[in-house]
């Protein structure tokens, strides 16, 4: 029948196209020559309003134009994995180490030169120089300042599985920083203790949110008494509405797995290996100027030794848990399985 022949032809064309797409060998991205071409493509998993001025300063100082693609780190991670070696990105600036580890694991990065990588202390950067840490963010407890005080708020997360906290604790189980914290719990207290905590908190009627900001909003509006977030979200919000108007207050957790420091970092993509523009950018991120910028504008911890932490924050060394590889993906998958089994993911 003639119409069916036409249908078969068109369907065959469509199928052929998609098959070609599936089996096509990825071509290597055009690599820039050893002489920089004066422009850099960056995928930034951070907010434009926060780091935009920093990138403009970089362009002013070095004359290198920067094309920035802004999205969330998870979306950029999915995008980079999808693009593979054909990515136009030359540098990936990520808000969490897990995304960097994921890209490194897929073989899409080129190593950071040793002299740059060595600037950041171990424990805050990759083990194998596949990415470099740029800023630190401490896990904290945000608590409702109208109902609780710093004495009544626990200074260890273990206490939150007690029945008195039922229905009062909020966190984002899908958030990379929360999952790093669970991984830290597993490493520092052992698998059994961590599983007990996860089951305990899941049975304690937790308030599950999408991200740290939503968690902070809940505490700030009195909908939750306690929230597990990263410290700098509080300062971001305080800068917008005024510190005196913040209902939520922060409790740091020195020495407790609940208070670990996650890092944001950057990686050079494989296609930009040896590109002097990319190296200049990485160098700039860990330079004193940029580190001070992060302290003043985003209230994060600087990772370059010798730069002072933001005012009012406990010193970085009091919070550190150095036995942790923040980008260990295998470990991350086990953490996610643990959370999934408890019904949280």
């Amino acid at each position: 029948m003639r119409s069916s022949r036409v249908i078969a032809l068109s369907a065959g064309l469509a199928a052929a196209l998609t098959l070609a797409a599936c089996t096509a060998n990825p071509e290597a991205a055009e690599s820039t020559s050893t002489a920089g071409d004066g422009s850099l493509t960056v995928y930034a998993g951070r907010s434009e309003s926060l780091i935009g001025p920093l990138l403009e300063q970089f362009t002013e100082d070095t004359g290198i134009e920067v094309d920035v693609r802004y999205a969330t780190s998870p979306e950029l991670n999915a995008l980079l994995l999808e693009e593979g070696e054909r990515t136009p990105a030359e540098v990936f600036l990520s808000q969490d180490a897990g995304a960097l580890g994921s890209i490194a694991n897929a073989g899409l990065v080129s190593p950071i030169p040793a002299e740059l990588a060595g600037l950041i202390p171990a424990g805050f950067t990759s083990d194998d120089d596949s990415w470099i840490g740029v800023t630190g963010r401490a896990r904290v407890i945000a608590y409702d300042g109208e109902h609780l005080t710093t004495e009544t708020v626990p200074d260890t997360v273990d206490a939150l599985t007690a029945p008195e906290w039922s229905g009062r604790v909020a966190f984002a189980p899908g958030n990379a920083s929360f999952q790093s914290f669970i991984t830290a719990l597993r490493v520092l207290e052992g698998e059994e203790a961590a599983a007990e905590w996860v089951d305990g908190i899941a049975a304690n009627a937790p308030i599950l949110t999408e991200n740290n900001l939503a968690t902070l909003d809940l505490v700030n509006s009195g909908q939750a008494d306690v929230g597990l977030i990263n410290h700098y979200y509080w300062f971001e919000r305080a800068a917008e509405v005024g510190e005196q108007n913040m209902r939520a207050q922060l409790e740091f957790l020195p020495g407790d797995p609940g208070g670990i420091v996650n890092v944001s970092g950057a990686a050079i993509m494989k296609g930009a290996a040896g590109d002097p523009d990319a190296l200049a950018f990485i160098e700039y991120l860990v330079s004193e100027d940029a580190q001070r910028y992060f302290v003043e504008e985003t209230f994060e911890y600087p990772l370059l030794p010798g730069i002072d932490a933001p005012d009012g924050l406990p010193a970085l060394d009091s919070l550190v848990n150095p036995e942790l590889d923040l980008a260990d993906l295998e470990s991350l998958e086990q953490t996610q399985q643990l959370l999934a089994d408890a019904g949280l993911l």
Binding site: A21, P173, G174, A176, E240, L344
Partner: protein
């Protein structure tokens, strides 16, 4: 409504429809590939997760309840707009269409800021219903305007009451429009992320986003998305089944169209409430909250008007491009579905609708995959983004084009053919001209939705290009609500333009003056 032909569809039309369908199926092929790489073990492991049945249950519950609510509000609203004696009818029509301009994430954010204790199923149901009512109101109002009350009158003379007369006479005329609108609402609710996530209601889309977010394992996300596609397939097939029966029951309008306007009398106040309250809640509350936050903000980050203008320009151009692509893709499918029947036609139509049930991030990633493989030179250009909008929102155009084409009598086309015009020329001279209002309405609907789109835009836009939606997102992401307010207001104003035009769209055909009724 004209009867459909029994003949086979012409080959060219069928081929065009199949190509359009294949392009629209790119996200589905992508999902198949990803699920394929996952392997059977992983697929079964996913179903073993305690949360998955909860997610599926929540998703179905939300979709069903929102659909029923919008039909319950939309049909009476449409009736009031089209058949009741109403002062300031044009203004009410505009108000009814206005919620189209409000993105679900913006409405949710506004309500959450106003009532911080809003959360869970009721909050998600409430906000999603508010912003999707126009999807039912507009097509049903158009169908009512194009219909006739003659059959109602016949039923009354036979002794039936007014409600029974409505059920017997008018309902069969508007049932396809109600079903089409309900289908769009249902698919939209299945695929929505922003509005639901803010209220912490766990559905498949929030889990998919989380899976892409922290799992770094795209296979799990793809499996969840496939579940969503299965739900969408079920919904689309159900609508086709229901619509099929409607067409069989109701052959065509006999006699000239006549319409009698209904006096409201003591029902005036409730009528005004039905027409005024949902749009007001959908539009006024978020805007007010944003403006209040604007004044509360201590640090208004530097506001750059050129950024706003550039973003506005990009939004308008990209959504116009998306509308063109969507209409181009939907035309063959819509014409095919309007004029011809059969399993193949139904299959093509079903496939065309499925992308609407998927969250934007899945469609975005599928187009990254496809464009890098097939047309790498166009990757991260405006063309791919406009194409993405077209693929995403083509289903919204199919219903409108199908309805508009179905209303053109085939006898006119036959006359044109006997005068020696070929099929294409007939279509251009006769059908397209008469169906133009419906096609334009379809394009406007796609445009207004594309203006609000966020996740696929973030993935596919040319690096450095911003739309109003992405600018709004990048500011609210860091609590810079003061800086976000101008963008939110501009987005609402810009999207209100096609919504306004949609409210004035007329389907044509016999509206008699009430004096002759």
């Amino acid at each position: 409504m004209s009867p459909t032909r029994a003949a086979r569809p012409p080959r060219a039309l069928l081929a065009a429809a199949v190509v359009a369908c294949a392009l629209a199926a790119i996200p589905l092929v992508y999902l198949l590939v990803r699920v394929g790489t996952a392997g059977l073990d992983d697929v079964f492991a996913v179903f073993g997760r305690p949360r998955v049945p909860v997610l599926i249950g929540n998703t179905v519950l939300l979709a069903a309840s929102v659909t029923l609510t919008t039909v319950a509000i939309g049909v009476p609203s449409a009736f009031l707009l089209a058949r009741a004696r109403l002062r300031g009818r044009a203004a009410w029509a505009v108000l009814a269409a206005l919620p189209l301009a409000v993105p679900s994430y913006l409405a949710a954010y506004g309500w959450l800021a106003a009532l911080p204790w809003m959360q869970g199923f009721w909050a998600a149901w409430f906000v999603l219903s508010l912003v999707t009512v126009p999807y039912v109101t507009l097509p049903v109002a158009a169908a009512l305007r194009a219909g006739t009350t003659g059959l109602d009158d016949v039923a009354r003379t036979l002794g039936r009451g007014p409600l029974a007369a409505f059920r017997l006479g008018t309902w069969p005329q508007i049932r396809p429009a109600v079903l089409a609108g309900a289908l769009l609402v249902c698919l939209y609710t299945l695929s929505d992320f922003g509005g639901v996530a803010l209220f912490r209601y766990q559905v498949l889309t929030t889990a998919i986003q989380q899976a892409y977010g922290a799992s770094f394992n795209r296979d799990y996300a793809a499996i969840l998305a496939s579940l969503l596609v299965l739900l969408a397939v079920a919904v689309v097939i159900a609508e086709q089944f229901a619509r099929g029966r409607a067409a069989r029951q109701f052959g065509g309008v006999t006699g000239p169209a006549r319409q009698r306007r209904v006096r409201l009398g003591k029902w005036s106040a409730p009528a005004v409430a039905v027409l005024a309250v949902p749009p007001a809640l959908a539009v006024v509350v978020p805007v007010t909250v944003l403006v209040v936050r604007l004044f509360e903000a201590q640090t208004l980050r530097a506001f750059d008007p050129t950024e706003l203008i550039a973003a506005t320009g990009n939004t308008v151009l990209l959504s116009a491009g998306g509308a063109v692509v969507a209409v181009a893709l939907a035309l063959p499918i819509g014409i095919l579905a309007a004029r011809y029947r059969g399993r193949l036609v139904r299959a093509i139509e079903t496939t065309g609708y499925l992308a609407l049930g998927l969250p934007g991030i899945v469609v975005g990633l599928s187009l990254v995959f496809f464009s890098l493989a097939a047309v790498p030179a166009l990757y991260q250009t405006a063309f791919v983004l406009a194409f993405a909008y077209g693929v995403l929102f083509m289903p919204k155009a199919i219903g409108g084009i199908r309805g508009a084409t179905a209303q053109v009598p085939t006898s006119l086309e036959d006359v044109s053919r006997t005068l020696g015009n070929g099929r294409l020329r007939t279509w251009w001279l006769v059908t397209a001209r008469l169906a133009r209002p419906g096609i334009a309405a379809a394009a406007l609907l796609v445009a207004v939705t594309a203006m609000k789109e966020l996740p696929a835009t973030l993935l596919l836009r040319p690096t450095g290009t911003d739309t109003l939606a992405t600018e709004l997102w990048s500011r609210t992401d860091v609590s810079a609500y003061g800086a976000a307010a101008p963008y939110a207001v501009t987005l609402l104003l810009v999207a209100a333009v096609p919504a306004f035009l949609l409210s004035r769209a007329r389907a044509g055909a016999g509206e008699l003056d009430e004096a002759t009724a």
